[in-house]
Amino acid sequence: MSTSASIVSHSPVLPLLIALLTASLTLLSRRSLKLTISLSLLGTCAYVASIISLLFSVQSGPLVYQFSAWPAPYGISFVADSFALLLLCIAAIVTAGVLVYSITTVDESKQKFSYHSLLHFMLFGATGALLTGDLFNLFVWFEVTLMTSYVLVTFYSTSKQTKAGMTYVILNLIGGAFMLISIGGIYATTGTLNLADLSHRLSQPDLYNISMPSVMLFSMILFVVFALKSGLVPLHFWVPIVYQAAPSPISALLSGVVKKVGLYAMIRIFFTVFPSGDSTPLGELSILTIFGISLFILSAASIIFGGISALSQDNIDNLLAYSSISQMGFIMLPLSLAALFPSIRQMALIATIILTLNHSLAKASLFLASGCIKNAIGSANLSDLGGLSRHSPILSISVFVSIFSLVGIPPIFGFFGKLHLLILPLNTEPIQTMYSSLFILILLVGTVLSFLYAIHLWNTGFWGEISSTVSDSTIPVQNQYILLFFTLMLISLGVGFESISPLIESASRSAIDSSGYIEAVLYHR
């Protein structure tokens, strides 16, 4: 084997090692803050570089890495495909932005106290969760990511944070227990935990003596757990509590990284693993049908409920949290159609991926902006604000672009997500009219609601007379540059959509390509 081949073959594990190494080293260098920060930045740069190079190298097909050289169904595989890496790339960019923002805003003593290390551990967990090809391993990485997020949410341990953190931890512990139950059940019924092997066995349930109704039951438990982690409506109540209490950079990470890990797992399991078992006759009730219908209801409810609740919020963080619930609904809604109608599956995933990227970037920028406002003015209540657009133009421009990117105004990136959503039911393939009309109705109502709360945020907080609290304070300019970075990113992704669309398309293809996934993992093709 040549040297160059060996470098390529180890590349899927590289981001993981970089994140772990950076996390450990930043933990060690407590004496000098400068050293910590430079190590942390260096590690982030290396991480982003490794992810981007990996993203381009998997465009031709997924890369599989077997830990300890144990062959596929027995050992733990890492599968780097373009879907996972695109999401990981955005997670890395959001984390990098948050890190740069934190350097100037988080207290020095707190930064010395393992803040950077925790950020990198979170990245470590997210990397593992997105790359792993094993169901139980996925649970472990989930827990790693969540454990760092527990600490980060309660980072200053103020009275509000301890309470919110408690809610968050208890909910996620219960979710974890249920995830374990469902994983155990899936293992007992199918006899495997490797996602590719699982998919392979589900395609021949009789051969492997698998009882499909039990798989269906356990898959629904998994669905509920993922819905909890991504904050869909009946399980959304933790979102505003936690987002409002957590430090703003952490809220940005929660919506940009942690929630996306849950979303990724849902897509990976329901669109890569389960579809192969879906051809088996089970009457009207196949896994994907139940999944699709329940997801349709949950995401529609999230869109409407989140939008309406966001309208009446006075606190910016609360408004953003409810907007996050509504946006998760927008992200999930095409998935429900994808589950119900296989012919439009890829188009729907394209819409989902665009909306996910858009939401991560826009929410990161908005939460960081809210952090700037809170730090300078001491309040994030819209009633105390006013006239920010004249007071601090850079901040206002980025808030404007980000919030209207969530709404989906043309030149900005979010527009393409909404566009793909809208053309979904108009696609040539016939979709039952009930679904398509409901879909369009929800879409329109949701978009109007998000437009209204965007206007609400803009009009009360940023336009009009400069309020006395605003005029007395200054927002440091160096904190605002990072917002500008996210804003420019949103605009350039929107304007140059043509250049990124091949990446998104290949990501959507690899997300639904079960046979390619099975072949890559089990047969090394």
Partner: protein
């Protein structure tokens, strides 16, 4: 016989966990969550079968009835994870008590 006992143990663990989770005392609620987690671990053990003998022995005659070793490895991992989360949640409980002076859920969350 053993499946019945295990089912009873599992059922009582889950019901105990749920019962404690619904208490007004935050400490009891947390104990409930921890017990639920442990119940999930016990359940995971039963998924590998419990009647067989030790796996991976040179004597190949007992190949048919070995216990699945994988679930035990999984449970070990899950126990380590729950050790970490349990210790974190207990420290957080101490912080909640420090900040609010009470562990009564109604008084903590009633005044939201």
């Amino acid at each position: 016989m053993t499946p019945l006992i295990l089912a009873l143990i599992l059922g009582s663990l889950f019901s105990l966990g749920t019962f404690l989770l619904l208490r007004r005392d935050l400490l009891k609620a947390i104990l409930g969550v921890i017990i639920l987690g442990q119940a999930a671990n016990v359940y995971l053990i039963t998924m590998g079968g419990i009647s067989g003998t030790v796996p991976v022995l040179s004597d190949s005659s007992s190949l048919i009835s070995i216990t699945d070793p994988l679930v035990q490895a999984l449970v070990l991992t899950a126990i380590v994870i729950s050790l970490g989360t349990t210790s974190f949640v207990l420290v957080l409980l101490l912080r909640v008590y420090d900040e609010h002076g009470t562990l009564d859920i109604d008084r903590l969350w009633g005044q939201l």
